[in-house]
């Protein structure tokens, strides 16, 4: 009986070991079989873009991070003339009314590193009174503002002047402001009427930083970090005033794009408008993993169009945005970006997969797709692309990466 129990126990042991072996054995996924099994391959298909319609827009140029001022004749972009407009606030400090002999210092902040144009750093700039009403939050490129250049009467019109040599290494300079603007400003400042702010906004047009006629460089002022210092000569008490408003007034004329090229700057003044509907409809039978819009920059023209002592700001990022838009000037700056191009070896590549997917699988309207230079923080930059008339290697195209079965 004992022997029979032992035999039974032994059989149970064998069973348990084998059962455990089977149940606890791990599964492995295979790694052999590539090429034998039927699997999909990625095949690139090229569709040439037939049209590259350029649209114009009147962009907002107020209250940007940087305000350009200066002049430069860029062979591709054209002759650029810019002036920075600004208007100090009249927030009253603790010192009460200011005497008329108050010293006014503009603590101006500029980007000391980046200069567009000649790098001589010899340009001279004037601070002049503005002769027309303007408002930064609504200031558009088409708005025309003039400055009081010459003596308009018995009182001197020029408010200040400076060169880049006046700035320290952090980009700050303290520039004394004078002339009839200062006395007018002190009167606004000392005005205790309830409507002083409103009167100031509408009756004082602020100041402009304007290059001298021989300037061949453009600098970037940072008005938001600049201050107006008001110093009482009696006790040296200083009131620091922030800037109430600012904008950039830019004129660009006479630009010549290289042959078979289109030029887009980051002023948001022009953009390319695509209608991808037909292309997407023709793709609805394709199982694609990526759709890519490729534009080729004319790097040769960009690099060889400046003299040795001239520089441009780096080319801007290029973006795609889905329309339609009722206020394109606003939307280019604030609406959702659909795609930002990667840039490599002269090619801008936009991932437009989601746009096409949205059109094919969700009936999203892609009749208006805007391509534009982005990041208009005030730095002026641009790029030159080959257009649809260029050779096939450089012309705009859409690459579809299809997933095709080997069958």
């Amino acid at each position: 009986m004992i022997n029979k129990n032992k035999a039974a126990q032994s059989r149970q042991l064998v069973f348990s070991i084998l059962l455990s072996f089977i149940l606890l054995s791990c599964e492995e996924s295979g790694t052999v079989g590539a090429g034998f099994i039927n699997e999909s391959e990625i095949v690139a298909d090229t569709i040439m873009v037939s049209e590259l319609p350029i649209k114009s827009v009147d962009p907002y140029l107020g209250k940007l991070t940087y305000s350009a001022t200066g002049a430069f004749n860029d062979p591709i972009l054209g002759e650029v003339n810019a002036m920075a407009l600004f208007k100090p606030s009249i927030i009253q400090g603790d010192i009460g009314d200011l005497p008329m002999d108050t010293k006014a210092l503009l603590r101006l902040n500029i980007d000391i590193e980046n200069i567009y144009g000649r790098q001589d750093r010899e340009a001279r700039f004037k601070v002049l009174r503005v002769a027309d009403f303007w408002r930064g939050s609504a200031f558009k490129r088409s708005d025309e503002v003039s400055v009081v250049e010459s003596d308009g009467g018995p009182i001197e019109q020029q408010v200040g002047e400076f060169t880049l040599a006046d700035f320290d290494t952090t980009g700050f300079a303290e520039l004394e402001l004078s002339g009839n603007w200062k006395s007018d400003f002190i009167r606004f400042y000392n005005n205790d009427d309830a409507n002083r702010d409103s009167v100031y906004r509408h009756e004082d047009f602020g100041l402009a930083i304007v290059p001298e006629d021989d300037a061949n460089e453009i600098i970037y002022a940072r008005i938001s970090t600049s201050r107006l210092l008001l110093i009482d000569p009696a006790d040296e008490d200083t009131t620091t005033n922030i800037m109430l408003d600012w904008a950039t007034d830019i004129d660009i004329t006479g630009g010549t794009a290289p042959a078979n090229n289109v030029v887009l700057s980051n002023l948001y003044d022009q953009y390319l408008q695509f209608n991808f509907t037909d292309i997407a409809q023709n793709l609805d039978n394709n199982n694609f993993v990526r759709a890519e819009l490729v534009l080729t920059a004319n790097e040769n023209a960009l690099q060889n169009s400046l003299t040795e002592n001239e520089e441009r700001f780096e080319t801007p990022p290029f973006r795609i945005q889905l329309g339609p838009s009722s206020d394109i000037a606003y939307d280019l700056g604030f609406n959702t970006i659909s795609s930002t191009a990667s840039y490599d070896e002269g090619k801008y590549r936009f991932d437009i997969t989601e746009l096409f997917n949205a059109s094919i699988f969700a009936d999203t309207d892609i009749t208006e797709v805007y391509l534009y230079a982005g990041q208009n923080s005030g730095y002026l930059s641009f790029s030159s692309f080959f257009d649809v008339t260029a050779d096939a290697a450089n012309a705009p195209k859409i690459i579809i990466f299809n997933l095709e079965n080997e069958e």
Partner: protein, 432 residues
């Protein structure tokens, strides 16, 4: 044996559940034969581990220890209700002229319930079992040319899972003293998923997955017969023969293609135009088998069996390319079983039954003029109980395929286990 009841029942429950969930569940079975990715999967021989150990299907009535799904004619002679199921672990070393690797696959098998409506005369069978099985997964590293004229790399996880299962209810009748016949109608379900998941290692390319699902069902039927004769050459011997005929059937199948794409910022299953749902017939082939068995006494039995599956008649309107690779499958097996436990000896080794056999299978595939043949060497043992229940283990070593024409050769180890329970198992012994 009584101590084994709980784990055995647990396994039965698990396997019963898995049998339903088997198709399309990638976590359950993976890394099977690379050849299972073709057509509707690799044909499955539904046999217990005890029969696998002999290299045969179990067509004859030479040994009535365990139930068999192979031949409906055998179901008439049962005296007890029986339940059986099995599981098989396969490890295959795969190689071709360019690569090698290992696939491991745990495959659940079948569930078979047998009821004696009239003990020894009329039996009823309820079974759920696989007919074909695809369980292949491969992760391949591939490249393509970007528009920047650089080669970009991605991985493609290709999976093929599922196959055809049958739910079958059959009856068998004894005709006279020596013969019995059986008929088993069934519903055949096709659930097959071929999927790809592309994982890009570069920015700008979102991961992509897609799958093709084949679903359908059909009415199928098969017949079986057996003849059993005792005392032919000697007083203690038994001779038996058996055969089956599976009629061809047509699956009304539907092919569905779907892909996951990023649409408006969210992943969404989409249907590509031109890849809409398709309906088509899948013609499954006729199958026939025949076997002979001889047992000189109650300790030893031998059997030789052959099977023909007319896969050359297979057609798939939804994937016509696969039918060009099909070839008639012929299989022959020979094996025997030794039952020392019937001597009632007290030694350890005499407490088991032992089996061995060999089988050769031409395979159902002919690729580049090469039959994907399989040679199996089989052995195993079984653990009996006093209440006519068995736990059987099989060990098989097989050679499948060839490396010619850059095809794949698989050297396969399998360990199988099956459990056969009778109603006696649940009868509490009376106190004496």
């Amino acid at each position: 044996m009584k101590n084994l009841v709980f784990p055995i029942l647990l396994i039965v429950c698990l396997l019963s559940t898995n049998a339903n969930a088997q198709t399309g569940n990638s976590a359950e079975a993976r890394g099977g034969s690379i050849y299972s990715s073709i057509g509707v999967g690799y044909p499955v021989d539904v046999t217990s581990a005890g029969l696998k150990a002999q290299g045969i299907l179990g067509l004859t009535n030479i040994n009535r220890e365990t139930s068999s799904l192979a031949n409906p004619g055998l179901w008439a002679s049962t005296f007890y209700s029986q339940a059986s199921t099995g599981v098989q672990l396969t490890r295959a070393n795969v190689e071709n002229s360019a690569s090698s690797g290992t696939n491991v696959n745990l495959q659940t098998g079948y569930l078979h319930l047998l009821f004696p409506l009239k003990p020894g005369k009329i039996g009823m069978s309820v079974g759920m079992y696989p007919v074909t099985r695809a369980n292949f997964k491969s992760v391949n590293t591939k490249t393509f040319n970007s528009t920047a004229n650089t080669e970009l790399e991605y991985t493609n996880e290709v999976q093929s899972f599922g196959g055809i299962n049958k739910f079958e209810v059959g009856f068998a009748f004894k005709l006279g003293e020596n013969f019995s016949i059986g008929y088993a109608p069934s519903i055949a379900f096709l659930t097959l998923k071929n999927s790809e998941a592309l994982d890009f290692n570069v920015s700008g390319f979102a991961d992509h997955s897609q799958e093709i699902d084949y679903n359908g069902n059909a009415f199928a039927q098969r017949f079986g017969f057996t003849g059993t004769f005792k005392s032919i050459l000697r007083e203690t011997d038994t001779f038996s023969f058996g055969g089956t005929l599976n009629l061809p059937y047509t699956i009304d199948a539907k092919r569905t293609f779907s892909a996951i794409k990023n649409v408006r910022g969210a992943e969404q299953e989409v249907t590509i135009n031109g890849a809409e749902d398709q309906n088509g017939d899948i013609d499954m082939p006729m199958e026939a088998s025949f076997g002979l068995g001889y047992s000189p006494n109650n300790l030893f039995n031998l059997a030789v069996e052959a099977e023909l599956q007319k896969w050359s008649e297979f057609s798939n309107a939804l994937d016509p390319s696969s039918q060009k690779l099909m070839n008639d499958r012929k299989k022959i097996g020979f094996g025997g079983q030794y039952h020392p436990y019937r001597k009632n000896l007290d030694t350890f080794l005499s407490g088991f039954k032992y089996a061995a056999g060999i089988s050769y299978d031409t395979g159902h595939l002919n690729i580049l003029d090469q039959n994907i043949e399989t040679l199996w060497l089989n052995t195993g043992f079984g653990i009996p109980s006093k209440v006519a229940s068995f736990v059987d283990f099989s060990f098989q070593y097989g050679f499948r395929g060839t490396t010619d024409n850059n095809l794949f050769k698989e050297r396969i180890w399998t360990v199988g286990m099956s459990v056969n329970l009778t109603e006696l198992m649940f009868v509490r012994p009376k106190l004496r």
